[in-house]
Structure formats: structure tokens, C-alpha cells
Symmetry: C3
Subunit: 334 residues, 3 copies
Amino acid sequence: MQHWLQLADRDPAALRKLVTLAADIKAGRTVPDAIAGKILTMVFFNPSLRTRTSFEAAMARFGGSAICLSVGGDTWQLEHRGGAVMNGAASEHVREAAAVLSRYGDALAVRSFAKMNDAREDARDPVLHGFAEHATVPLINMESAVEHPCQGLADWLTMHERLGDTAGRRFVLSWAPHIKPLPRAVPHSAVLAAAAAGMHVTIAHPSGYQLDPDVITQAEAWTAAAGTTLTVTDQQVAATRAADVVYAKSWGAVGLYGDAPAQAESFRTQADWQITPGHLSATAHLLHCLPVRRNVVISDAALDQHHTTIVDQAENRLWTQAAILQHLFTSQER
Amino acid sequence: MQHWLQLADRDPAALRKLVTLAADIKAGRTVPDAIAGKILTMVFFNPSLRTRTSFEAAMARFGGSAICLSVGGDTWQLEHRGGAVMNGAASEHVREAAAVLSRYGDALAVRSFAKMNDAREDARDPVLHGFAEHATVPLINMESAVEHPCQGLADWLTMHERLGDTAGRRFVLSWAPHIKPLPRAVPHSAVLAAAAAGMHVTIAHPSGYQLDPDVITQAEAWTAAAGTTLTVTDQQVAATRAADVVYAKSWGAVGLYGDAPAQAESFRTQADWQITPGHLSATAHLLHCLPVRRNVVISDAALDQHHTTIVDQAENRLWTQAAILQHLFTSQER
Amino acid sequence: MQHWLQLADRDPAALRKLVTLAADIKAGRTVPDAIAGKILTMVFFNPSLRTRTSFEAAMARFGGSAICLSVGGDTWQLEHRGGAVMNGAASEHVREAAAVLSRYGDALAVRSFAKMNDAREDARDPVLHGFAEHATVPLINMESAVEHPCQGLADWLTMHERLGDTAGRRFVLSWAPHIKPLPRAVPHSAVLAAAAAGMHVTIAHPSGYQLDPDVITQAEAWTAAAGTTLTVTDQQVAATRAADVVYAKSWGAVGLYGDAPAQAESFRTQADWQITPGHLSATAHLLHCLPVRRNVVISDAALDQHHTTIVDQAENRLWTQAAILQHLFTSQER
């Protein structure tokens, strides 16, 4: 039995096979026949629009079904620490929850965002790994503290559709301002996907907005193996104007976790990192994972010009997740 | 590709065909075979009991499936204005949301009630039309600021079941008191349905409770074409006692939007508009869209006497929505 | 047409048949073929993890589908009293809600916990019986104020799996401390299930924590008929160490309803009722309905030792509910 926890857990060749499978499913060349009759149980500790809908649609479209549980917020909390005396808010331990939910369906999926209080705690991804340890069916990461691997695979498929062979093409992840600090799981997986796709990777962000060092190390290993480069820069426009693909994304500064006024001031002083048509060459493709705040993260003009690509990118969640499900269900059977 | 946005968008003959199709589906004379294998994505900005359950049941019963998203309240808001700088509560624009959700399923349905701050803004029905503009699959109105066309069609089917030929029969919509001001979408669609069904239409309400003038104009055009009449009166009992069908419904006064004490006082002084057996002739049928507050809107005695009709009316949501889905899915294919 | 409201409504032989059917379904010896194509509408006035997921999974696994409505909390309330003037929080009466929801699906299921303000009011189980009176399809109790009969049947199946013939074996329900008072529906159904299974039943709790007298009377009648005994004791360790099955469960004291400080103090002074390995003989089996607070209700050591049994018990919700659904759908057809 396999889980689907992080892009970093797999090698680029295995990831490429999944992208190819997704493209085949999308084109109707392959039917993911292992989904039929299966039940996917999804556990959301955080809200979702695209992830939930695309997983439900993938299950329904290929003859399976999905169960959605919204267990976050004030209503129900889960303990993941060993030995805890559970006299606080959490009424159930992940040991029981993961084991029991594994008995009702054929796969389990969990969304649990970074808490953004303590970057080292987030880097351990405790809720995801708690589920993985106790699940007895394949576990899917629907965005954890560290990665959003379903998004990363959809990003890759979209670049493949736009560029054909991605090897040696120039991928630039550009930080953008926002009104509140967001987690880094999406940029982490985007960088890993681009590195695994054999692209030159540039990460453009202002000082203080570095990504997780372990993710960077993994991406560097993949670019080195592919004979490409990984560069970090604070020269946004120079980077994005040279790109084949610009991936716009905002995230919070680790050093400002818990300091909302300083984070807000940082966004204000870097407001000109908003992506506009001037950031993009005539042949560049613009990606964003959505939801996107128009005229904060990306200007109307840039977004409207690249609307079809970004909607295709969201649609590709459906096809890459169908590929992931097919892979997990058939790996399980072997 | 067609949408299902308002009764007012279609002509009475087309609406009648849908009622006939619904009756045929209910009787088992027709199977809405275009639903099988389809996915309906429902987006709720407001709560729902009947609408959600009847759509889910219609999809499941005929081999499709439904995805329900509750995106209203504090958790997630949607921008619909062009050019907005999205630095407020809304984290996604309808341009992206409608386009993306169109990619996952085969039809999209939206519920977005009137805000009841500004009647002219509500009359533009901005959320519904924002979705309609950007959806690339058929869009269904599950109650917007202006109309509740699924309810209107169920109302018509119920009157057809009780009366047989509805042409020339007397339909009276009677305002009723409540404890809070409700939107006018249901009475709007009920009046349009009765007009399209060829009935004489009377709207009884106290001074200040007029319906939307555009809806009245449309209903008048349909009654004129049918050779029937549309009358507005404040003489409730005279109107309802002469009716073949009394449709009880409360709604708020446009002039009192935002003035809760004045609205409450208006309800108190018109408390005798509550529908009782004394309002109804021996042969009259009583309708209500539900939920209904007993002994506020309708007395126990009147409601219990007409319980079966009102439950049939709610059940007819299932059959008319199956007809709408069948119509949209087959129109799409042509 | 039959409902599934309480274990106490049926005789032990009928319950035993359902347990046998569930075991047959679990073993693949029987397929509950009446579920295919059916729709189950579930109404939750309180949160749920296992109940919702296991019912959804049971419907999906055997070709049916489920609709989940979360109507509790602040958003929507239901009136159940006859003659009420509904000018308060409740916007719909159970007369309409139960009748309408009966029209959309093939069975209806309701969860409505004890309010724990007035034990006599709870003992009347007004919401469940309001639904039962007005439902026109089979109604399933997913935990009401008095019983949790789905859980009770899963408890029985689990004991049958562990013990083989349960007749004459020793069942001990042991109260345990907690951080807040919980309802008594689970212990009520557990005691009834054990009595119906022909076991010697002991209920161990501190003074003031008695169960509902009507439930005890019913359980006594069943133990008397089986030639076994029903004993109530405050000598926990002596009872549990002599048991074949120890069912750990916390519940609140009726005399402390509404008095949170006194209830908390009572939990504190009885903290040593927490179940530990010292409470259990080498051959005893430990049950708990979950969720369980580790190191408050049961110690890590005891829970980890009996983890598989308790997860099996949760899994058995799926199989016993499939048996209940099969029974109700086939009874309906006769």
C-alpha cells in the first residue's frame, strides 16, 4: 500500500508517469477503471473549493463515491501527540480517527494547513504524518503544512500542455503581496514539480520570504540531476520577464509569524510585486493555483489575458487526481 | 447551451412543456435519461433544506450525482464587481469561480438571496448574472434576489394536479405576517407561474408591500396574452375567499429595508393577515413554499387541512427539477 | 413500514437476527441487495464522524446514495410541540419537515441528542418521536435522547466476534470520568444489547450516575427471560476484573444537569475510575464507542492493548447499519 503525501517522496520519473497518466485520462485514451466502486473519505480541517469539488467529481465521474467531513474549526479537534492527557479541546486521537476511517472507505484524504506559529513544527507536518502512521488504506495529502502535491501535479500537467517538452524551459515562481500571510505548501510543491519536470527554476521573493530549506535542497537535487539550475533572487522583473512560465503566488514571511502589523506593512511596502502585464514576456504563460485576489496578487489585465491557462490549471486538478487515485488503487491491489 | 435563471426568461408555452415533462416523470411515463452519469455542482450562499435535498435526490434517483458547496457566511466570499481591488473579505472573483466549477461538472446551480438593503441592487441580481456570464455549463437558479424559478414550476405542477386545466382559474397570492422580513423571490415566481398557467392573478398585500415592478409588468403581459387579469388589492379576505388557489407567503416591505423595528411593528399591526380557515372557500387549495411558521403565517387549522397539498407541492420540487435537468442536459447536447 | 428507533422496541430474537445478518454481510455471505438504488436522507442536529461516514459508506458500497443535512446549531431549528405559535427561533415544524423529507428519499435518519436540562423531557425523546409520527418512510435513530440503537447493535456484533456464544458471559458497563457531561444514549443501548445477547449485565458507576429507570426495567426483563442477572454496583474494580467484556463510557449525572462546577468536581473526585490495565483481567475485551479521550476515560496502556477491538467495534457500525437498512427496505416492500 502506498500513500500520496509529498512530491518529495517520489522520484521525478515516477511523478512524470502520473502526469502522463493524467494527460491520457483527460484525452480519453485511458479510463481509470480502478476508481469504480471505490469510496474516498475526505477529512477537511480547513476550507476548500477546488480540492473538494475536483475530488468529488473525479470519484463520481469514474464510478466511485466520496464522503466529505469538515472537522475543523471549533467543532471537533484531533490530538496527534503521543501520551497526551486529553482534557482539552481535542476529543479524539488521530490513532483512532485514522484507523476507523480506514475501515469505512478505500482511501483517505486529509487537508491540514500549516499553523504558521512555528515553522519547525510545521515542517514536521504532524497531522499528515499522524494520519499516515495510523491509516490502513492509501492516504492522500490535500494540502498539508509542507506540500500540496495534488496542486503540484496539476501545475506540471498544465505546463506540459502549454510548453510540450518542459526540459530546459524557464520556470519562475514569483512571490506576490496579499492582505494576510498564506502558507507555503503551494509554492513548495510548485517548485518541486518544476524541478522534477526538468526546468530551470528561479524563485523570486523579497528578503525574508525564503521557502523551507529542506524543500529547496530537494529541488536542487532534482535540478542538478536534470542538468538545470535553481536560483533564488529578489530581482522580480528581471526574473519574470525571462520566464517561459511565471507562477504567481503569495505567502507569509516566517520571521513575521504572529506579527500581523509587521506582515501587513511588509505587504504594503512590496505592493509593486503585484503581477502585471509588464512582468511578462509576450510568450510567457501565467499560472496561479486560485483563489486569487484580483488587483492585489495579479492585476486584472494580466489575469484576464491568462484566464484560460489558469482555469485549465484548475481543471487539471480533476485529471491529475484521477491519475493519483488510479495509481493508489492499483498499487494497493498488487 | 441554455441556463435556467428566471421564469421571465422563457415564454409560457416553453414553461408548460417543462410542467408536462415533470408530470410525465412523476407518473413514470418518462425517464429523464440525460441525468445518468452527470454531475451537478451546487453552490449555496444561503441555507437550504428542500432545494438541496430535492436536487440531490433528483440526481441520485436518475443515475447522476451532486456536489454541495456551502460557501456563504463568514467563511468565503465572492467578488462580482468588475475592476475591484480585492483587498476585503472576498478572496475569489466570480469570473474564476464560475469558470472553474464549470470544468468539474455538467451543470452548476447557485443560491444567492436578495440582500434586502437596496431593492434596485437586488433587482439587478448581480451574483446570479455574474455566474451566468462566466459559466460554461448550464446554470440553474436555486433562488436568487429576483426569482425562485424551480419553486415556481413546482407551484404550477401542484396547481395542475389539483385543478386539471388551470386556464381561467383564480389564483390569489396573499401576503402574510412573519417575525422578520423575507425576500420576494418566491412570490415573484409564483405570480409568474400562475400568469403563465393562464390563471386570473390577484395579489393581496397591505400598503407598502408591492412586488418588483418589472415582475408585475411581465406577469401582466402574460395575463393579457392569455385573456386573463392581474389585480393588486389590499382587501385580503374578499380576494382569498373567491380564489381557487390561495398562495400564502410573507415578504418584507421595500420601504422598511434596514428598519427592523418599523418592519416588526408593521407585522404586528397586520397580524390578522395570518391565513385561517375563514380565508378559504370550501373548494380552495392552499399553497405555501415552506418552511412555514405555524400560527404566524398560517394557522394550525388551515395548515392541517391543506397539509397534503403543501407536502405534494414540496415533493413536486423533485419532479420539476428533474424535468429542468433533463431539459438543460438535452438542450446542451443539441 | 417499520422504523428503527430503539433496541427496546424489538425483542431479543429479532435483534439477534439483525446481528446475524450483519455478520453475514461482513463475511460476504449475504449481499444487502435492497440498498441498491435507494436514497437515505440523514438529518443531523448534532455533529457526527462515525455515524455519518459509516451510513454514507454503507449506502455507497451497496449501490445506494446518502444525503446529509446539518440542520443543528444556530442556523435552523425545528418545532415539535403541537399548537405552538412559531414566533421564536424555529422556522419549521417537524410535521412538515418529516413529511417532506419522506418524499425525496427512501428512508430518513435523525440524530438529536439529549438536551440534558430535564431528564424527564429527554426520556420522552420528543424530536425522534416527532419525526417518527410524521415520517412516511422508515425512520432510523442515529442517536436520540434515549438510545443509540445502531451503536448497540455494533457492540453486540463485536462481542459475538470476540466471544462466540455470548449467552451467560459477563458484560460490565463501567462509568468513567470526562471533562464534560455526556448523554446516556450509548450506555442505555449497550446495556440493552448485552441483556438481549443473553449476558450477565453489571453496571458500575459512582453514586448519582444511575441510568434511565425505564431502560433498566427493560434490560432486567430481558436478563430475567434469559436466566441471567442485572446488577448495579459502585465497586468498579471488582466488577470489571470479573468481566468478559468491559464497556468503558462516561456520562453525566442527572442530578447535576446544568451545574457545571459540581459536575466537574464530581469528575475530579472520581478520576480514578479511568480505565487502566489494572481494571481488566487477562482475557477481558475492552469496548468503547469512540471518540475517547485518552488518559481521561481510558489510559494509553489499556487503549493501545485493545485498539484492534475498539476499531473493529467502530467498523461494525458499517455492517450492522447495512443490516438495518436491508431489513427496513425489505420490510417496507412486504
